[in-house]
Structure formats: structure tokens, C-alpha cells
């Protein structure tokens, strides 16, 4: 099953693709800058195609099987998205072209800003952030700049629940804020008393994921937000879990000041084996002027069908600045726009209803066999404990690896950190009841094996092309790249 690295397939003089001869008079390349050697492989096109096709076959993917990776929303990515994003009018547009030549792109972005604002209940949206974590960074910088402008320079503390994604504290620390962790209560909500105790005049903001990473809707969401607002703080919403809320509740209505959307989760832009993502940020009215620039605006109003408005790029008045080159992951914007247009209001609401239906169905079917630490109706995902006191040697990791033998991707494990041996399960709305039932059967069988013949779990996976990987060896030996065979050791 091992596929050689492409460098090991190299043969001197072999060609993959040829380019035309220069059609202009030739000049010398400056000798002082000429590189001596370009140690890259030489392979034929078919070899390249076979190599990467074979590699692709070693992956589990949404298109090959169930992928209930909690917090990642691994739902079906419609094929039409791939076609619209590749339309030449979009794919061949240079980001610095004169605005009058790219009115199609600008119009699409303008409307997507609007759609996302409408879905989240916000006054303004930037499409610039490259991924969720960059959306968070954008949001936290907006919080900082807002306080700075208000003369509240002492506000340097950000509160983050213990159930939060690791990106929340990492982002805050990157921005130079002091991170204080807020515990969760016994129902999986933010511990209100602990929150209140930290609400003083150094409070910059609170980062809240709702539904949280336990898949639970924050029961005191209004009170939590009011407490933070009363202390002069802003509330940042981590929108990783928006797949539960489309047409169900708008974070802006609930009082969130800022929210990032993950287009690669909620709005079906593909996850790409680890990106590209896209992390637009929505803000309430009082923060619109702080959005990173540029955003798309109407420069000249239109007049009916014949005279469309003129769209252009503008930088908001108190903008925190630029987050990246150009205007964001435009090809992802096209996909998300396509998806929203295909659904409309009721269609989006149906997405979340069925995502929540699928999650609750699985939860009910599994909770008698696996411990459910927070036993209440869930949203789009839920978290089980992957352990049993009577078989202490069996861990969540073993359950995860054994699931692979059933052709399924394991749930997210060991996260959130507040659940021991966590298994975080997000089925998404695009799975059939039959698939969910197969997953339940597999999980029940694994539980039985854990008690009767745990070695089956400890040795898992059995049927995959690769067995358990030695991660310690990787970290110790640190082989992070390779070269052409003749260069090895040179």
C-alpha cells in the first residue's frame, strides 16, 4: 500500500509538461543571481496523476464515508459549488483590476455580506478573514480598538469559557490580551457567578461559542451577555457552530456584538484536507466602522434593471486595518453564495432543524451505552465519554481507531477538555437515517467489545491500509522533508 514519495520516482530527463519556446529575442540571465541547482523531481504526467490519485485513495473523506467530526461540520459539499467557483469570470479575475471591470465579483461579495448579516442579525460584515481563527483575531482586534477609541485603554482582559476551542485563548494572547478562563456549571452553561466575579473595568470582552462545544445552547445566554455589557465589555461569538442556528436564532438578536462565520463549515465550502477556510466577521451597528478594510459598498446607486449600482471597495473609518492580501478567499465566497441562494430562508432553517434532529437521534440511541455527562437536549452535536470505569484500559482513542474498521471517520476526541475521554459527535443534516443507524450499531458493538474483548479495540484499526501510527517516533526523529535520492546525505 505504500506509495513512494514523488522524489523517489524521479528520472533525469523525464518531462511532465512542456511550454512553448520564447517568441522574443533572448537576453542573458544575470550570473550573480543564477542558482546552481534546482533539486526537484522529474516525472511524467501519468506518473504524477497515478501518484496523487493513489494518494487520494488513502484518505477518508465526506464523499467516501460518514465523517462525524465534532465541531467541524463535515456535511456534503454540493458539486455545483465547484462549478460556479470555477467560472472563468470569477477564476480569472485579477484582484487589482479596475473596479469597473469586476462588477460581477463585487456585486457577489456585496450580497454575500448582506446575506451573512441577515443570517447572523448584524449590521455589517467583512469577508476578508481567511479562516475561523483569523476571524477571531479580527474580532478581538475590533474589541481592542473599540475600547481604545473610547479611551478605555485599561480594558485588557478577555474571558473565555473552559469549553472553548484552543484558538480562542491563542487568538487573545496573540493580541496581547490577558486570558481568564471561566468554568462551566453542572449543566454545561457558563458559570454565571464566576463570570460576574471577573466583570470589572479591565474587562475587554467575553468569547462565547453558542451552542457551545458540548453542543448545548447556553441557557442563560441573555443574562450572560447583559452581565458582560453592563461591565462595559463586548461579546464575541465563535460561529463555528452556526450550523445549529440558521433561521433558529440570530446571534446579533441575542446581543452578540461580533461573530465569525466558518464558510467551510456552515456554508459548504470544502474543507480541502485542512483549508482553505473562510472566516467572515459580522458586527453590530456600533462596530461597523471598525471592520478590516476593504469591504464592498455601493459607490453609486443604480436605477432599475438597466442601470445596476456601481460597487467598489472601501475602508471603514476606524478600520483595524488589513488582515491579509486583497479581499479574502473569493472562490469560497462564490461557493457560499451559491449555497445560500439555493436554500433561501426556509431552506436554511431546514438545514439546522435536520442537523439538530440527526444529533439528538444519535444522542438518544447512544446515551444508555456511553455516558452522556450533560444530559439535556442537544443542538447539532453532543459529547459522550469514551470510557467505562469497569474497563479502565479502554480509552476514547481506542474507540476512535476501532470505528475506522467500520468505514467511518471517528468523532473529534479529547475535546472539549472538560469532558474526560471526550467523543464529540456531529452527524450533520446530510446523513440518512440508515447511516446514523449503522453508526449506532457500530458504536454499540464497540462498547460490547470493550467489555468482552478489549484487545480488538487496543489493536484497532485492523482493516485500514495503515495501522496505528507511531507519533512519538515522528516527534523524536523529525524527518520533515525529503530530497532527490542522489542528494540524500549530500
Amino acid at each position: 500500500m505504500v506509495e513512494k514519495v514523488i522524489y523517489d520516482k524521479s528520472s533525469e530527463g523525464r518531462r511532465g509538461v512542456q511550454f512553448p519556446q520564447p517568441d522574443v529575442p533572448l537576453v542573458e540571465f544575470p550570473a550573480a543571481f543564477t542558482r546552481r541547482d534546482l533539486p526537484l523531481p522529474e516525472v511524467n504526467e501519468l506518473e504524477v496523476i497515478r501518484h496523487f490519485t493513489r494518494l487520494s485513495q488513502l484518505n477518508h473523506s465526506i464523499d467516501t464515508g460518514f465523517y462525524p467530526l465534532g465541531s467541524c461540520t463535515m456535511k456534503y459539499n454540493p458539486k455545483i459549488n465547484e462549478e460556479t467557483a470555477r467560472l472563468a469570470g470569477f477564476a480569472k479575475a485579477h484582484p487589482l483590476q479596475p473596479e469597473e471591470t469586476v462588477q460581477g465579483s463585487l456585486m457577489l461579495m456585496y450580497h454575500l455580506q448582506d446575506f451573512l448579516a441577515e443570517i447572523g442579525g448584524f449590521a455589517g460584515v467583512t469577508l476578508q478573514p481567511a479562516a475561523g481563527a483569523q476571524g477571531e483575531l479580527t474580532g478581538v482586534m475590533i474589541i481592542q480598538k473599540f475600547h481604545y477609541k473610547q479611551g478605555q485603554t485599561q480594558r485588557n482582559k478577555i474571558l473565555i469559557p473552559d469549553s472553548a476551542h484552543g484558538t480562542n485563548p491563542a487568538t487573545s494572547a496573540m493580541s496581547g490580551l490577558k486570558v481568564v478562563e471561566i468554568p462551566s456549571d453542572e449543566r454545561g452553561n457558563v458559570d454565571l457567578e464566576a463570570l460576574k466575579a471577573e466583570c470589572d473595568d479591565t474587562l475587554a470582552g467575553f468569547m462565547l461559542t453558542n451552542p457551545n462545544t458540548l453542543g448545548l445552547f447556553e441557557e442563560h445566554v441573555r443574562e450572560v451577555i447583559e452581565v458582560v455589557h453592563a461591565a462595559g465589555g463586548l461579546v464575541y461569538g465563535d460561529g463555528a457552530n452556526m450550523n445549529a442556528l440558521l433561521g433558529i436564532a440570530r446571534p446579533g438578536d441575542l446581543g452578540f456584538d461580533i461573530l465569525h462565520y466558518n464558510l467551510h463549515k456552515t456554508f459548504t465550502t470544502p474543507h480541502g484536507g485542512g483549508g482553505p477556510g473562510s472566516g467572515p466577521v459580522g458586527v453590530a451597528e456600533h462596530l461597523v466602522d471598525y471592520l478590516p478594510g476593504p469591504v464592498v459598498a455601493v459607490i453609486e446607486e443604480g436605477n432599475g434593471e438597466d442601470e445596476p449600482p456601481l460597487y467598489g471597495l472601501v475602508t471603514p473609518k476606524h478600520s483595524i486595518g488589513r488582515m491579509k492580501s486583497f479581499h479574502g478567499h473569493f472562490a469560497m465566497h462564490v461557493r457560499a453564495f451559491t449555497y445560500i441562494l439555493m436554500h433561501g430562508e426556509e431552506g436554511l432553517r431546514d438545514v439546522s432543524k435536520h442537523a439538530v434532529l440527526n444529533a439528538n437521534y444519535l444522542m438518544v440511541k447512544l446515551k444508555d451505552t456511553y455516558r452522556l455527562p450533560y444530559d439535556r437536549s442537544c443542538m447539532h452535536e453532543f459529547v459522550l465519554e469514551g470510557r467505562w470505569p469497569e474497563v479502565p484500559d479502554v480509552h476514547a482513542l481506542d474507540i476512535a481507531k476501532r470505528l475506522m474498521d467500520f468505514g467511518m471517520h471517528p468523532p473529534t476526541n479529547y475535546f472539549p477538555l472538560i469532558v474526560r475521554e471526550a467523543l464529540m459527535i456531529e452527524p450533520t443534516e446530510t446523513e440518512t437515517k440508515e447511516v446514523l443507524d449503522q453508526f449506532v450499531d457500530a458504536m454499540l458493538q464497540i462498547a460490547k467489545e470493550a467489555h468482552e474483548s478489549p484487545e480488538i479495540l487496543k489493536d484497532a484499526p485492523h482493516t485500514t491500509p495503515f495501522k496505528r501510527m507511531d507519533e512519538v517516533k515522528a516527534a523524536k526523529s523529525l524527518v520533515l522533508c525529503c530530497g532527490l535520492p542522489e542528494n540524500i546525505g549530500a
Partner: protein
Amino acid sequence: MYHPHTDSDREEMLAAIGVKSLEELFDGVPKEFRFPAMDLPPAHTEMEVWEELSRIASANDTVADLPSFLGAGAYNHYTPAAVDSILRRSEFYTAYTPYQPEISQGTLQAIFEYQSHIVNLTGMDVSNASHYDGATAAAEAVNMARVIFRSKRKKAILSPALHPHYRETIDTYIKSADFEIIGEDLDPALGPEALIDLIDEDTAVVVVQYPDFFGRIYDFSKLAEAVHQAGGLLAVSVNPMTLSLLKPPSEFGADIVSGEGQSLGIPLSYGGPYLGILATKNEYVRSLAGRIVGETEDKEGTRGYVLTLSTREQHIKRERASSNICTNQGLMALAATVYISLLGKQGLKEVGNLCYQKAHYAASEISKLDGYSLWSSEPFFHEFVIKTPKPAKEINEILLENGIIGGFDLSRSYPGMEDYLLIAVTETNSREEIEALIDVLSEVKHG
């Protein structure tokens, strides 16, 4: 739309859960906020959405419709069909971060090969699995330097010839009361030696671009020596395509190499997604941001790959992580990996040479025109600045009227450079296109 539930599925599932309706699942949401109205366009069928999106796309005139000489950080290159054919393998594009290595070896090995390509192109020791784009990779390079010196050195020097968007992004990311960013105000006509005077004991890093924003190629050896003498680091932002011919930045003493990988088989797509490159020396691997893939074995001794050194990362270290990056540019890194593999040593050199030759032909012909001259006499790769007889903005308007997308009007980023146009030429520009450009430019002068 894409949910497969039949009425009987729904009934059975609701009954199993013990609720009567889908709506009842949301009783925990405060009633007054539940099921809000959303003002969105009506649902479209796939056929309708295809027609609508085709219509919107056709409102753009792109480099597919018009000859273009626009670069400035994004370049129109030819991408062989095989690249997209692999990107469309849904085993790649519908997978996520390879957290479970036993069923993700495709993605993991492709990233390992990507890291290898970047290391071999740049001459550095290690590469991460990718970053967002050239701007954020440059910002992470500065952040890395800050982390390496544990915030004890409080200054970064940016070359004024570093891409304006990269400088703006670094400002947004890094500039604070505790960390100073200088150098940007220097006259961009000056070479990198002008930065040497700014270096002191408080300098964490000097950031330059190779070739620079204006297309010029400089030897950074003296600059590297100066910053190293002061105990700081040199970060170089590269266009990896040019490294097919150019000496790698490692030979000038670069400590960190960042870059924009869009040139490696990634479509223009109105600005993204592109590919951030970040590579460094072995000694700084633990301060490198983002995912890294390493080679290992499975328990039967079969060679395989895993994400490694994850103790640097946010999901383990939380507020003590070296960066907050999580999702990166996996599929774009795959595009670059396939592109480099397919073109190989010879193909990449050919593309580099075509760009170089055509750009030099264009520059030489334009500089012969009355009223036009080259701004710099330094060597350049495939981009150069011309002084124009009228404001570049007007020249671009005239070019567009003649069906040509002109260059980058430098006054958009450099006030005072109203009469300067940055022209990029790649292998996709035919001699006829270059001659059409020259014709229009010559008429501008006379007209």
C-alpha cells in the same frame, strides 16, 4: 435541500427522541428570539443558480478576456489541466485536517511532499504545511521572530519595497505599544543597504522581498551580515516561481522565508484563496507557526506520516501557542505540490525563463518609447516599473479602452509615484500582446 429525510424518517426519529415536532427541539432557545425572519432571496434550483452565477460571472472582464499586465502579488500563469484534475478528487477536497493518520495518509504524504518542494526551492531546512497567503505568512515571520526573542527585542524593520498589503497586514497583526515597526517610510528607490542604518540591538527581524514589490532583484548578503551582527534575524518574502532560476534566499543568509505561492498553479480567483509559504532553519522549528507533517512508521513498521510537533499549536498550548492558526490552505498546498511535481525541474525553469525573457523584451521596447523610461537600472525578474509621460491612472484608462488591462498604478500604494506603472509579464503574454501594449503606450505619448 441536501438533507435526505423522508416524512417517515422524521416521524421515527422524533418518536425515538420523544418530541412531537422538529420545532420542539429548540425549546431551549429563548422564545422571543426563536425562528426569526430572514430577508433572503427565494430558494433557487441548481439549474437556476447555475444560470444566475454564470450571469454574474459574465459581468466581469478578466485576464481570460483581455491581455493583462497586472501583477503586484498575483500573477496570471498557465496551469496544466492535470493540476485541477487532482484538486477535483473529492477524497482530497472533502477531507479535513488529517487528525486521524491511519485514514489520512493521502493528505499527509501530499503535505510532506509539499514541505519537501518548499525546502528544496527555498534552500531552507523546514517548511510548515502552509499559511493563508503571502501577507499573513510575512506577519507570522515577524511574529516568529518576536517569539524567538521572547519579546525582548521590540522592533521589526520592513523594507518599503515589501508588498504594501504585506506591510499593512504586519502592521495590523504586530504593531503595538510594545512592538515598533519601522523602515516603511524610506524612499523605495533606495536599495536594501539603506535598511542597515536602522538596525540596532533591539531589532528582532528585518523583512525584505525577493524579487521586491517593484520586481527588482537584490543580493541581501550585506544586509544579512548586518542584522546577524546585531543578533537579529533576516526574513525574506519570496515569489517561489522565480526561485526556479534565482539563487535561493538561504544563500543570502535568510533565517525565515515566507512567500506567496499563488504562482504555483493557483487561479487568480479575484484574490484568493492563495497559498502562504513559511519556512525556516532547523534551529527555529519549534517557533514555526502552523501544522507540520513528519515521517514515522505504523506499528507494523510501514512508513507513514503524521502531524507532528503539535505541542506548539493552539489546540494543545491554548494561550501559550506560537500562533492561533488552525485551518490553513491544505488544498492550495496540494495544487502547488502537483504543479511543481508536474513541471519538475525543467518545466519550472522554462516558465521562469519565459517570464524573464518576455518581461525583458517588454521593458526594453517600452523604454525606447518617447516619454517612457525604466525607473530602476537594477536587475529584475518578470516585473518592472516604467515612468510614464502621463499619470499611470490615465494610461491604464486608455489601455482599458483599447482592450488591455494595464499595470499597477503605483500611486495606489506609494503617494508621489503618480507617474509610475508596475508592469508584470508572464509566459501567458504573447509577443503580439506585448506589441499591442507598446503600440497603445506609444500613441498615448503622441496623442
